[in-house]
C-alpha cells in the first residue's frame, strides 16, 4: 500500500451539553492512500459523521471540542492550520458529500448555481464550471441537465438531491472525497451508476475515497479497506474480505449477520379487509407528470413496498395521498371514504390513523422541540395519554424500541446523528398507534443491525396490532424481508405490482429485472464474481 494521503490519529471529539459531555468520537485512527477506498462502517450514532466533520473543520466549537488527535494531510495537521488555509483545501482537495441532502442544499439558490460555485469559489472561470456541472449532472443520472440546473432543491426528489450533492463534490476532482452515506436514497440501478462513476473518477485522478456507509453491499462493491466503529471507537479494521469473513469483534460479527435479504419471503393475506384504495391518482408539477394514474390497494396488516427509480414519484405518491399536495385527479379511499374530498374535520380524525415517516428526517423534526415533545406531540393533538409520567415512560419505551436510549429524551434534533433522527421520526409515527404507516426510506440511514431491529419491530407491530405499511425503500434486501407485496415504479407510473415472491423470483418487466440485477450482495466475493461476469453495469 502506498503512502497514506490522509491520516487521522487518535482523534477524540466531545460535545458539551447541558446534560453532560458526550464523547462522540474516541481515539479514532485510520488512514487512506491515493486511489484507495476506505469504508467506515458502524453503528448509527457511533461518530462517523462527526469525525468526517472534524476533517472538514465543520464542527461548531463550542459545543464540540476536539480533545485530542491529529489529522494529517499533505504533511500538515489540519487541526492546526489556519481557517484560511483550511478553506482553500475544502472542496478543492478534500470534498464532502453530506448525509442529509435536503438540508445541506441552500434552498434559495438554484442547484446549478450551487454546483457551479464549487469551482468558481476556487477561482475557476464560470463557463468552464458550467460545462463541467452540466456534464456531471448528466453523469449522475438527472434528466434534462440544462433545465435541472435552473431548478431549486425543493423541486427534486430525495435521491436526486443526493446525486446533485455528489455532482457538486466531484466538480474539482478532489484528492480526497468523503462521502457520508452517499447512496441512502438511491435505487439500486442509479446506485450502481453512481458507484461506477466514483470508481471511474478514482481511476482517473487517483482520488482517495472515504465512504461512510452502512450498506454492506455498497461496501463490498467498492471498498478496499474497512474500519468499523462502535460507540465512538474503532473496533475492527482490515481489508474488505478480512472483515467480512474473519471479523474478530462481536459487534462486527453481529453487523454482518444482520445483513438483510436472507429471510423468508412473506405471502400476502388475501382475506384481510381493504383499508386504503388508491384509484388513478395523478399529480403534476407544471407540465411535468410526477405521478400518473397510480392505482393499488392496501389491506389491513399488509406491508406494501414501493421500489423504483429515484425520482419516479414514490414520495410524491405518499405526499399526494396524504393530501400534503393537491392531487390533479384520482381518488384515495380510506375505509371507503375519499380522503381527497374529505372535510378538514373528518380529515383530522383520519390523520391519527395514518402516519408517515419522511424521507428527510432532519427537516421533518422541529428543531425547537425536544425528543420528548416531538414524540408526545401526537398525544397532545389527539388528546391521548394525559398523565405526564406515563407519557415519559412510554416515550422512553418507544426510544428503546428503535434503539435509542432514555438519556436522549431531553435532547434536541440537532444533537443527533442522521440515523438517530430517523429513528426519532419512526418512534413518533409509532407513538400514535396508527393503522397505516407510510415509511419513506425510513430505515435507509440505519446500520444493518439497527435496521434489522427496527424491521423486526415493525413486523411485530404488523402482526400484533394489524398495522399496515406502505414501505418506500430502495434496499431490495430490506424489501424482501419485510414486504408481502411490491410495487415497482418508473417515471411516475406503476410498472409492476405483485406479491414479493413473484417480483423477486419471476419479474416480468425489464425494469424490474434490471433492478434486481443491480442489487449488491454484502459478500465481497460474490460481488467480485458478479463484477467479473459483467452482470452489472
Amino acid at each position: 500500500m502506498s503512502e497514506a494521503l490522509l491520516t487521522v490519529k487518535n482523534l477524540s471529539v466531545d460535545f458539551h451539553t447541558a446534560r453532560g459531555t458526550v464523547h462522540a468520537v474516541r481515539n479514532v485512527s485510520w488512514s487512506v492512500s491515493r486511489g484507495e477506498t476506505l469504508a467506515i462502517l458502524g453503528e448509527s450514532g457511533s461518530g462517523k459523521s462527526v469525525s468526517a466533520n472534524a476533517i472538514m473543520n465543520l464542527l461548531d466549537s463550542p459545543p464540540a471540542e476536539i480533545v485530542s488527535g491529529e489529522i494529517l494531510y499533505d504533511g500538515k495537521d489540519l487541526l492546526k492550520i489556519s481557517q484560511e488555509e483550511h478553506r482553500a483545501l475544502n472542496g478543492k482537495k478534500i470534498a464532502m458529500i453530506f448525509q442529509d441532502p435536503l438540508g445541506h442544499l441552500n434552498p434559495v439558490y438554484s442547484v446549478g448555481w450551487q454546483i457551479v460555485e464549487m469551482m468558481t469559489a476556487h477561482g475557476r472561470p464560470h463557463d468552464l464550471a458550467h460545462k463541467r456541472a452540466l456534464e456531471l449532472i448528466a453523469r449522475v443520472g438527472i434528466p434534462e441537465p440544462e433545465k435541472a440546473m435552473r431548478k431549486y432543491p425543493h423541486q427534486f426528489s430525495g435521491g436526486q438531491r443526493q446525486r446533485l450533492m455528489i455532482a457538486m463534490a466531484l466538480m474539482l476532482k478532489p484528492d480526497i472525497l468523503i462521502a457520508d452515506e452517499p447512496t441512502t436514497a438511491l435505487d439500486v440501478t442509479i446506485q450502481a451508476e453512481v458507484l461506477a462513476l466514483l470508481k471511474e473518477l478514482q481511476a482517473e485522478t487517483d482520488m482517495a475515497l472515504v465512504l461512510i456507509s452502512h450498506d454492506l453491499g455498497v461496501v463490498a462493491e467498492i471498498a478496499d479497506r474497512i474500519v468499523v466503529m462502535n460507540e465512538g471507537e474503532i473496533v475492527e479494521s482490515g481489508t474488505v474480505r478480512e472483515v467480512y469473513h474473519e471479523a474478530k469483534h462481536p459487534y462486527t460479527r453481529k453487523l454482518i449477520a444482520a445483513a438483510p435479504g436472507k429471510g423468508e419471503i412473506k405471502i400476502p393475506n388475501r382475506s384481510s379487509p381493504i383499508l386504503l384504495s388508491v384509484e388513478k391518482l395523478s399529480k403534476s408539477y407544471h407540465s411535468f407528470h410526477a405521478l400518473r394514474d397510480a392505482s393499488f390497494t392496501v389491506a389491513r396488516a399488509q406491508s406494501l413496498a414501493i421500489v423504483g427509480e429515484s425520482g419516479s414519484g414514490k414520495s410524491t405518491l405518499a405526499r399526494t395521498l396524504l393530501r400534503l399536495e393537491t392531487a390533479d385527479s384520482g381518488h384515495v379511499y380510506w375505509k371507503g371514504k375519499d380522503l381527497l374530498t374529505m372535510s378538514a374535520r373528518e380529515l383530522l380524525g383520519v390523520r391519527r390513523e395514518i402516519q408517515m415517516v419522511f424521507q428527510d428526517p432532519t427537516q421533518s423534526l422541529n428543531p425547537r422541540m425536544s425528543v420528548y415533545e416531538l414524540i408526545a406531540e401526537g398525544w397532545d393533538i389527539h388528546k391521548l395519554m394525559p398523565a405526564r409520567q406515563e407519557r415519559r415512560a412510554r416515550v422512553i419505551e418507544l426510544l428503546e424500541q428503535v434503539g435509542l436510549i432514555a438519556e436522549h429524551i431531553d435532547r434536541y434534533p440537532h444533537q443527533f446523528s442522521g440515523g438517530q433522527r430517523q429513528r426519532i421520526a419512526i418512534a413518533r409515527a409509532l407513538a400514535l398507534e396508527p393503522e397505516l404507516i407510510i415509511c419513506d426510506e425510513a430505515v435507509s440511514a440505519l446500520d444493518v443491525s439497527i435496521q434489522a431491529q427496527v424491521i423486526a419491530l415493525l413486523d411485530s407491530l404488523r402482526q400484533r396490532l394489524g398495522i399496515s405499511f406502505i414501505f418506500i425503500a430502495h434496499d431490495l434486501g430490506v424489501v424482501r424481508d419485510f414486504a408481502d407485496t411490491v410495487i415497482v415504479m418508473k417515471a411516475g407510473e406503476i410498472v409492476e405490482m405483485g406479491p414479493t415472491a413473484q417480483i423477486f423470483e419471476a419479474p416480468r418487466e425489464p425494469y424490474t429485472k434490471k433492478l434486481l440485477a443491480s442489487n449488491l450482495d454484502p459478500d465481497p466475493d460474490v460481488q467480485a464474481k458478479r463484477r467479473a461476469m459483467g452482470i452489472y453495469a
Partner: protein, 304 residues
C-alpha cells in the same frame, strides 16, 4: 408576477378607496378649518363665508360626493390655506421627500446589512457588542437631539456644513445622516438576529465544505435566507420616511411631505391631507408590492 401585480393593483384600488373614505370622514370629525384659517376674532359672518366658499357648509355626504366627482378627473381640490391645487402642493413636497427617503434607505440597507451580518458572524465578540450598542443607541436616541447636536458640531463649531436648507448636495448631508441613524439601528438588529438563525443552517456547512470564503458565505449563502424579515422591517422604515420625516424636515427646513402633512392636519387643511395621504399610500403600496415580489425572488419556495 404580472398576475400578482395585476391582482395587487385591483386590491390596492380598494384599499385606496377605503383609505380615502376613512380619512375624509375622520378628518372632518376633528374640527372646523374656518376657525383656524381665520383670525381668532373673526366674525361669525366671515366664518360662514369661508365655509361657503369652500363648500364646508354642506352636509358631509354631499361634500364627499362632490369630492368623488372631482377625483374622477384627478382633481384633489384646493388647499384651503394655500389657495393652490392640493395635489400640486403635495407633489412639490414629494419631490423632496422621495429622494431623501430613497437615499437614506439605500444607505441604511447597505450599512445595516454589512454590519449586522458581520456582527452575527462573530456573535458575542467585540465587534458584535460594539455594533449592537452603537446601533441600539442610534435606534433609541431622540432624533432632534442628534440633529441639533450635529448642527452645533458640524455647522457652528467646525463650519463644515450649512445648518439647514436644500440648496446644494452639501445641504443634504446632515438631514440624511440624522435620518439614517434610527432605521440603521433598527435594521442592524434585525439583520443580526435573522442572520444568527440562518447561520445555523446545514447549508452553511455545505458552503464551508466547498471552501467558500467567509464574505461570500455570509453575504451570498446566508444573507439571502435571512432577508425576509429584513426587507419587511426596511419596508416599514421606508414607509415611515415616505410619510415624511417631521423632525428632520422641521429642523433642517427641508420642504418635505412630513411638515406639510403635520401642518395640514393641525390646520385641518383637509384637501391637502387627503391628497398627501393618497400619494403616500400609492408610494407605500408600490413599495409593498415590490417587497412581496422580492419575497418570491429571494425565496423560491414562497407561494402566495
Amino acid at each position: 408576477m404580472i398576475k400578482l401585480i395585476g391582482q395587487r393593483a385591483i386590491a390596492s384600488i380598494f384599499s385606496l378607496l377605503v383609505l380615502m373614505v376613512l380619512v375624509f370622514f375622520l378628518s372632518r370629525l376633528t374640527g372646523d378649518p374656518a376657525v383656524l384659517f381665520l383670525p381668532i376674532d373673526a366674525t361669525e359672518q366671515m366664518k360662514e363665508e369661508f365655509r361657503r366658499l369652500h363648500g364646508l357648509d354642506r352636509p358631509v355626504l354631499e361634500q364627499f360626493w362632490f369630492y368623488l366627482q372631482d377625483l374622477a378627473y384627478l382633481d384633489f381640490g384646493e388647499s384651503l390655506r394655500k389657495a393652490r391645487p392640493a395635489l400640486e402642493v403635495v407633489l412639490e413636497a414629494y419631490a423632496w421627500t422621495l429622494p431623501l427617503a430613497l437615499i437614506t434607505m439605500a444607505l441604511v440597507m447597505v450599512a445595516a446589512i454589512v454590519l449586522g451580518s458581520l456582527a452575527a458572524f462573530k456573535t458575542g465578540g467585540f465587534f458584535d457588542r460594539l455594533v449592537s450598542i452603537i446601533s441600539l443607541i442610534g435606534a433609541s436616541a431622540p432624533d432632534f437631539w442628534i440633529a441639533i447636536v450635529a448642527i452645533v458640531i458640524f455647522s457652528i463649531g467646525l463650519g463644515w456644513l450649512p445648518t439647514s436648507g436644500v440648496g446644494t448636495p452639501v445641504h443634504w448631508i446632515l438631514p440624511v445622516a440624522v435620518l439614517f441613524i434610527r432605521p440603521f439601528g433598527l435594521v442592524v438588529q434585525v439583520v443580526r438576529g435573522s442572520m444568527l438563525a440562518a447561520l445555523q443552517a446545514p447549508y452553511v456547512k455545505t458552503a464551508r465544505a466547498k471552501g467558500v470564503k467567509n464574505l461570500p458565505l455570509i453575504f451570498v449563502h446566508t444573507l439571502r435566507n435571512g432577508m425576509l424579515p429584513v426587507i419587511t422591517v426596511m419596508g416599514d422604515q421606508a414607509a415611515a420616511l415616505l410619510n415624511g420625516a417631521v423632525i428632520v424636515e422641521t429642523i433642517f427646513g427641508f420642504p418635505g411631505i412630513g411638515k406639510l402633512m403635520i401642518d395640514s392636519i393641525l390646520q385641518r387643511d383637509f384637501n391637502v391631507v387627503l391628497a398627501a395621504i393618497m400619494v403616500t399610500a400609492l408610494a407605500i403600496f408600490i413599495m409593498n408590492v415590490l417587497i412581496d415580489i422580492a419575497y418570491g425572488l429571494l425565496d423560491p419556495r414562497i407561494r402566495y
